[in-house]
């Protein structure tokens, strides 16, 4: 009986992972295809990478999207960390329910609604001073920060809720003011969450088509907007090459970050155990 179950689970896992990975692998394979017909194999070639690097419009889009994503990730990390800290550590205060609701809603809100509402805000406030009257870089970044800070908040909040509060209390008892406690104690411990929040915000911003289309002015073209308009006209091998570069960059980053964090976590746990052992306390199992 148990073996039947394991067999079933294994089959589903294999099929599920095949479903997740075959499309991506096929894109990578066909990016090295000589033939312009994307699905007929015409021999190995890297010519589509050459075509891609000659396409200045596309490269401009890549550069613009990368800059927006970097600004977005930094902004989202700052505001998201504040929000995560407030929700995890500040207990009850007036407006807490509103804040918690506003933080989780963008996670599920259909993008067309968020995009439309932000555009109407930018248009309505355009006559005011200090508001950019041209939509473009800054409006897309604001829209993306609003979207991605929710993800950062969730990551930071869950890290804080699994973290031992007694460290912060001890520092407080020893006379450190809250701001110092946060900088010296809390921040280093939640650093992995902040790093993964930054990466998450960066990739989400780099990937977003719908909200950017609403928030962008007529002359701004981010990378996803360019991919979308090309794909609408049909499959082109150039996109395969671009996709391969994007997928491999992300894979390297995610795996490196994962390995780094696992190692840090392991050392941290070992140190905590050693410290506990020296203090005469049995390490927690």
């Amino acid at each position: 009986m148990n073996q039947n179950r394991s067999f079933f689970l294994l089959t589903v896992l294999v099929l599920g992972f095949a479903f997740l990975y075959i499309p991506i692998l096929s894109v990578i394979a066909f990016s090295f295809n000589e033939s312009k017909l994307v699905t007929v194999w015409g021999g190995f070639s890297t010519k589509w990478y050459g075509v891609l690097f000659d396409d200045h419009q596309m490269l401009d889009g890549v550069w613009l999207s990368l800059r927006i994503a970097a600004v977005t990730a930094c902004g989202a990390v700052i505001i998201g960390t504040f929000a995560g800290l407030v929700l995890a550590r500040f207990g009850k205060f007036r407006g807490r329910t509103t804040l918690a609701g506003m933080v989780t809603a963008p996670l599920v809100m259909p993008e067309v609604i968020t995009g439309l509402s932000l555009l109407l805000l930018f248009v309505a406030f355009a006559p005011l001073p200090l508001v950019p009257d041209q939509r473009g870089f800054s409006t897309i970044a604001i829209a993306h920060i609003t979207l991605t800070m929710s993800y950062v908040t969730v990551v930071v909040q869950s890290r804080l809720s699994t973290m031992d509060e007694s460290l912060e209390e001890a520092a407080m008892d020893l006379g450190a003011r809250p701001a110092k406690v946060f900088l010296v104690i809390t921040l280093p411990i939640i650093a992995p969450a902040i790093v993964s929040g930054w990466l998450l915000a960066f990739t989400l911003s780099l990937d977003d088509l719908v909200i950017a289309s609403f928030a962008a002015g007529p002359s701004t073209n981010t990378l996803p907007m360019m991919i979308f308009s090309k794909v609408r006209l049909g499959v082109t091998p150039e996109i395969n090459a671009l996709a391969t570069l994007m997928v491999s960059t992300v894979t390297i980053f995610v795996i490196a970050a994962g390995v780094l964090m696992a190692r840090q976590e392991k050392t941290r746990q070992r140190d905590a155990q050693m410290a506990a052992a020296t203090a005469g306390v049995l390490p927690q199992p």
């Binding site: 009986m1 804040l99 067309v112 701001a179 110092k180 790093v195 140190d271």
Partner: protein, 336 residues
């Protein structure tokens, strides 16, 4: 005393910032501004709360009020392309002009109603398929040996990090008439002529299930992973078959994960635009597409706003359900 060999990420930077803060607190302008703030009753705590609160008020809540406002406006030629609701009348009165024509049109015109209906249908069916595939996968990962578990989890998360557009694009290459699937099937002699899959509902469902599967698996996994295995053993000891033990113990315990995952798939899928546009047929009526066309092609901003408000009304219940379970899950994690 154990020697600490390990320097946490950013530790050196943070202790430097701590020292900077100490220096700052002796710096007169800093002290004066803190005094002023204290006298006004503004504490550091309030300031910290204010940062995310004001940002979200400004860029999340107020925009919805503006959408609501514009949904009651009328279109006009010009910039911005909608009329204002409040006008100075001729006698010097403030006149409030509310135009409910957009909403009446949504109710009256069968196009919108059908679009809403088919969006909810597509989202429901996609959610069910995500659940059918995602549940056994999350269960399998949660039951895998710890060394495998992290690798499998990383493999689930990895597609989520890669471009969504690229992944949808990948399916075009597979599903086209001269795409990989048709080529393989014809090469094997199973079919003689290509099966038309692109621009059909089938392609759209495949795209949605494929893109949203990780959203189903992650909350389900984090729920299933917490389960106490001894409960299952107890059930089996008391004579339940493994299948019955699963039905009576695991399934009810995993309901919060099932609901969280389903809502994470269902809610965005209802408003999905990119997948129906790229994979679905030209006649596929999805409300996200209707809103997009109303805004970008027809430039009818008031109508697009009314569609957005109506969509929000349809989704209010699922969103509240999601928030309720999300709050419960995070509270559970905090009490652990």
């Amino acid at each position: 005393m154990a020697q600490i060999r390990y320097v946490p990420l950013g530790h050196r930077m943070s202790s430097r910032m701590g020292r900077f803060l100490d220096t700052m607190s002796h710096f007169p302008p800093y002290r004066w501004s803190m005094d002023v703030a204290r006298r006004l009753g503004v504490t550091g705590r309030t300031l910290v709360i204010a940062v995310p609160w004001i940002w979200l008020m400004l860029f999340f809540l107020i925009p919805f009020v503006i959408v609501l406002k514009i949904s009651f406006a009328d279109t006009r030629l010009g910039v911005p392309p909608y009329t204002s609701l409040v006008e100075w009348g001729q006698a010097g009165y403030l006149q409030l002009k509310l135009n409910i024509g957009n909403y009446l049109f949504i109710l009256k015109d069968s196009l919108y109603f059908e679009a809403f209906l088919s969006s909810v249908k597509v989202a429901t069916i996609s959610t069910i398929f995500c659940l059918l595939l995602g549940y056994p996968m999350s269960y399998g990962i949660a039951r895998a040996s710890p060394s495998w578990r992290n690798t499998l989890l990383l493999l689930i998360i990895l597609p989520f990090w890669t471009s969504f557009l690229v992944r949808v694009y990948a399916w075009i290459g597979l599903l086209r008439n001269n795409g990989l699937i048709n080529n393989v099937l014809m090469g094997l002699g199973i079919i003689d002529e290509p099966i038309v899959m692109m621009q059909t509902d089938f392609a759209m469902y495949v795209g949605i299930v494929y893109s949203y599967l990780p959203f189903m698996i992650l909350p389900l996994y984090s729920n299933l992973e917490k389960h106490d295995n001894t409960l299952l053993e107890a059930a089996v000891d008391l004579g339940a078959t493994p299948f019955k033990a699963f039905l009576r113990v695991t399934l009810p315990l995993s309901m919060p994960g099932v609901i969280a995952g389903s809502m994470l798939v269902f809610i965005p899928a209802v408003g999905e635009f990119v997948i129906p546009r790229l994979l679905g047929g030209t006649d596929s009526l999805m409300i996200g597409r209707v809103l997009w066309d109303e805004f970008f092609s027809n430039r009818n901003w008031p109508m697009a706003s009314a569609v957005a408000i109506a969509l929000l009304l349809v989704l209010v219940l699922p969103i509240m359900l999601f928030q309720y379970f999300q709050a419960k899950e995070t509270a559970g994690a905090a009490h652990r």
